[in-house]
Symmetry: C2
Subunit: 297 residues, 2 copies
């Protein structure tokens, strides 16, 4: 009876890598309306002798829990630094909501790391709760040696939006630092964000601003007396950057206007790099090292 509250965590596969272990798990997710959810978890070798801090990677549109684990190039530095990596999926799978599989930038593969309030989506599309509450609880309940008092978060594109907003909006300061590759940094001002917010939220874009789903809006409200630790990288050869889907300059300007200097918010532009994992992997070790500063402090 003791563990009836512990959902059944099923191990789907396991691969040794860099002296640690990458494991894919499946469980019935309450946050996602009872659907099966999957995630990948990399534990460094040091986890065999004690709890380790964790860095959560949120992937972008169309991705799953696999993209960052397979192509990000994060494992080597995480293994060396003794940091676990948690790779959630990007949306519920198989919710059966009409139209959820019609577009690549909305619905399946595009959960936007929010909790939906539109009744059509609110039963299943709750990636905010899934990432911030459910996964830590599930992992802790399973006895996996992660110290959730030491969490940081990063992500790519839609996942960069997720990382920045979950970090900045957390009242409990759940994450020690946040970083992003090519984030959707001001989603209330770009087509991807507008579509997602109008679809998932009853109150649309206004609700998104109030709920803390726009990193640029959030940083405006964060005084410099409340320090932040943020790193953002993007490439000038990124087609989505060129099409104004990312708007990292808006985030940077809002951060500077609010008094956050380059030690608090660093936004780096990289000539000719694009939106792909070839860009991400190039700067992967920078990001892991950035978070290690705070996770191992």
């Amino acid at each position: 009876m003791a563990d009836t509250a512990v959902p059944n965590l099923t191990k789907l596969s396991s691969n040794k890598s860099f002296e640690g272990e990458l494991t894919k798990y499946k469980f019935k997710s309450a946050a996602l309306g009872g659907l099966d959810a999957q995630f990948n978890l990399f534990l460094p070798k040091t986890a065999s002798t004690g709890k380790v801090p964790v860095l959560i990677y949120l992937a972008g549109l169309t991705c799953t829990e696999d993209n960052g684990a397979q192509k990000g190039g994060f494992l080597k530095e995480a293994a060396t630094a003794g940091i676990a990596l948690l790779f959630p999926d990007t949306s519920p799978r198989g919710a059966g909501v009409e139209g959820e599989n019609e577009d690549w930038d909305f619905g399946t593969g595009a959960g936007f790391y929010l909790n939906a309030t539109n009744p059509k989506y609110s039963v299943h599309y709750n990636m905010l709760t899934h990432v911030t509450l459910e996964l830590p609880q599930i992992i802790e309940a399973a006895g996996i040696p992660i110290d959730f008092n030491r969490q940081s978060i990063f992500g790519h594109s839609m996942g960069g939006h997720g990382a920045l907003t979950l970090y900045l909006a957390s009242r409990t300061k759940q994450y020690r630092s946040a970083s992003a590759f090519s984030p959707i940094a001001n989603p209330t001002q770009c087509p991807w964000g507008e579509k997602a917010f109008k679809g998932y939220l009853q109150g649309g874009i206004e609700e998104a601003k109030k709920a803390g789903y726009d990193a640029t809006e959030l940083i405006k409200q964060r005084g410099k007396d409340e320090p932040v630790h943020i790193l953002v990288d993007y490439g000038t050869g990124d087609d989505f950057y060129k099409k104004d889907q990312l708007l990292p300059e808006n985030f940077l300007k809002a951060a500077r206007d609010a008094g956050h200097d380059e030690f608090q918010v660093r936004v780096r532009s990289h000539a000719d790099y694009d939106h792909s994992y070839f860009f991400i992997s190039t700067f992967a070790s920078d990001h892991v090292h950035f978070h290690a500063n705070f996770l191992k402090a």
Copy 2:
């Protein structure tokens, strides 16, 4: 008129990575019977100021030119060392030979880096010529700054078989060094190799031995007065190793019997690692560094 002999090399995509450039090309391959063939080529930044040496990566069963480029973790070290990486495909695509798409370990995605002599396959299944002759010619003719006097070769599984055999059988000493992850090291003695040789070669396994398609047979014939530079890594948690598809011990024993010491042929066993790219990426930098010793000498 001058370049009528230069086949049309079409650039399909290009991604900046580690200050260099990964480009996917397509061309009509004479070696593969006139079919379109694709490959990926990574050029380090140093290629902008002069010709660079090249390391060729041969992928395994079911793979394409993308697996090594996306998941291998080779680009960072190659960029730092100033070495180009060439990623060929693993077979012709769309040959239209009856049955070529029925099995995952024969036909499409499973060219075994040989030249077929069975008439059914001999028009298209000539990956040996494709890799050793055609790709260097095509790339050189296109004016891409690679110094093909400095080539080395490595690969995974079927591609490890390819790397070892192309290296050892080359009469012109085309490659300076060879390495392999989990290679099919004695294919005339394992089910994968037997199936491939009986299918592609009129003379079956006997023809395979004579043609130089078995690394263990080749190293037996290579006297210690003719030095070799070979590195092999495999994992003891590899299911194909356990099922005797790889047989690295046979290769190691043959090498030692022929007088090649551990400075010439190094075979390393890694506890619990499996057959996946998570294993490959763990030892990726070791392999690039190994080849850099010879490519930059």
